[in-house]
Subunit: 208 residues, 2 copies
Amino acid sequence: MAGTKQARRAPADRYDERRNQLAESALQTLGELGYARTSLREIANNSEFSHGVVHYYFADKFELIIYCVRYYKSRCVTRYDAVVEDSTTPEELLTAFAAKLVETVREEAAMHRLWYDLRTQSMFEEKLREAVLMIDATLEAMIWRVVSRYAELAGRPTAMTPAAAYGVLDGLFQQALLGHLTGSTVAVDSMAAQVHELMPLMLAPSAA
Amino acid sequence: MAGTKQARRAPADRYDERRNQLAESALQTLGELGYARTSLREIANNSEFSHGVVHYYFADKFELIIYCVRYYKSRCVTRYDAVVEDSTTPEELLTAFAAKLVETVREEAAMHRLWYDLRTQSMFEEKLREAVLMIDATLEAMIWRVVSRYAELAGRPTAMTPAAAYGVLDGLFQQALLGHLTGSTVAVDSMAAQVHELMPLMLAPSAA
DNA sequence: GCAAAGTCTTGACAGTCGTCAAGGGTCGCG
DNA sequence: CGCGACCCTTGACGACTGTCAAGACTTTGC
């Protein structure tokens, strides 16, 4: 990025920059209204551009949304890696992981209800499936890094497949998110307790 | 209202009958297209009536959809009760439960992706929340009947809250449903295996 | 400084949406 | 028979949607 602007501002840079700006506005709007009620005009209203510009940078609505999904992934997928790297005992990792989950539900609720929305839409709309499945696999891998590191620190082998570990944790997370959005004050803390109970069960029984 | 019926065909009966007919057409359409793309006209097209009749029986779109959710519940919520009642050993219950889950994903995929769709919509639309939360609680109770009966047959106490048990199983179910809808042939069987591994972990460790 | 390429706005299009009013149709009762 | 209540259709409304073309504004290369 350092010296790109001298003779003619590099078109590719500016192009991607605008696409990312629009993706950001789109993510904000989608997180607020949900997929069903989000229009391209509303997305443009939440940006500094007019509604026609969307079709200058994206072929159609799906291309924008799919681009958004991928753009979102690049920010979200390393969220728990610091937890993995900084923890030195299984208890420490478990507590830090649960705390990070709680923080995520509380502070990124809109973005995550959007994720669940889009994942569900992909059950109806084929065009969304490829991008959704790719992110789902990435999230599964992210969770698996936590679980396998947890097993390593505990000195016990894992007793679940990556898919199963992701599935159950995702279920708890989704439940907590719904509870949080409906005003429940205990749902999020309840999730933390559930994760504390569940994670040891993902490892083979201890020798003791 | 109850006294307005004469020898003439009881209005209340016919009224409810029509509402249920429309709810059935609506559920079929919603299961096919999803919430975002389902219009009242399309619902009417999938019934034997014209599009105007919807507003004769329902005040607006939300009243129809909420009625649908409740109508759907009445059919779905006892699905696993036969499993609970007919099983005499924990292994038998577990196998029958897993088989029923597999059957449900395979044969009721449309209806369940609709359920996940509506539940996610309730994260954005307050009007849907009350009905969704009511069903969610009913489903949690349904799952808990299975788990607690399983514990009873195994002679071991449960080691999870009803919410946690529902959360993790729902996560696995949703994962399998997405896999099934994307054409995966192993996703559903994989869920059965995961349930077999997970259910024993919901009970306190055996003495042995 | 000019022409061309790139960027953005505006306005319009063909549909579709939820909603509702006006009007037939049908049926049972007096 | 004819009246009135109930049931349903038809057609229309205003608003909103995704899409795109025409043109204006800006930036760049020469």
